[in-house]
Amino acid sequence: MHSDFNIYGTQLNSRLILGSALYPSPALMQQALQQSGCEAVTLSLRRQAPEQQGGEQFWQLIRELKLQLLPNTAGCHSVQQAVTLAQMSREIFQTNWIKLELIGDDYNLQPEPMLLLQAAEHLLADGFEVLPYCTDDLVLCKRLYELGCKVLMPWAAPIGSGLGVLNPYALRTLRERLPDATLIVDAGLGVPSHACQVMEMGFDGVLLNSAVALAKDPVLMALAFSQAVAAGRSAFLAGAMPKQDFASPSTPVLGMPFWLQEAL
């Protein structure tokens, strides 16, 4: 089936993007990614410790999956850190995609909006295809989009919280006000119904990690999320019925037995 979902021109059939961290084992990570049907995966860079061999195994497993790689700048607190990490990522992963994370608060890992704009401008000028991890603030998202970020990744809730959509109004507003932007909800989703909810709103995709990796059965949860994302997308395309505050019988009233048309 043709997909109209793309990230900076790269077409993806799955609207679910998964992270590669926190799985009980590398093998389960690989199985979960495969089961989800996702075609893009997030990953990162850290200082190489020659005594630790785990990094090599991870890289080998990821390469076997032949997915689109979406490197992040997780943990960065300054524009310089984020730009340098992005440049190192581009060299290693051979992609212009960068999930731009610039943290402004260590307690809830909330993005730093002003620095995010500066870093995005710098990276776009340097040829990157920037996917900023941002809050659901309309003005911030508008500024990022105007800078040239064609893909925005607003949070639903703080990273790893699993709380689901904390501000449905803000997310709905983003969708309505930025109809041409590719909007991927990133962070804070806990269960598949959360993913379905944002897809029903018309979001283009969902990025998550903890909700799958920390499930009792990550492989089964990966399948559940992929089904939820697909269901939500279909529902959005189908168009939901209008809400009303009163009941309306679905079974025809005409021909109902046991009542009389005229009073006795």
Partner: protein, 70 residues
């Protein structure tokens, strides 16, 4: 090629103090496994610049490799 200097200098390598007997970045790199990328004092050093990069005392050198991420 950068000018070679046989001397001992102390730098910060991946956050730890380390004494080197060469100031050539390219002499240090064979101990690391590919793929990796390099930043010197917080700035990216592209692979094609390794042969031209000279280290100085007190430099902060970061050598990073792929890991899992969300």
């Amino acid at each position: 090629m950068a000018e070679q200097m046989k001397t001992e200098l102390s730098i910060w390598l991946n956050g730890k103090k380390e004494s080197l007997d060469s100031n050539q970045l390219s002499h240090l790199l064979p101990r690391f496994k590919s793929p990796f990328a390099v930043a010197l004092n917080g700035c990216f050093i592209a692979a094609n610049q390794y042969p031209n990069t000279v280290l100085q005392a007190g430099d902060q050198l970061d050598i990073v490799s792929p890991i899992a991420g969300g």
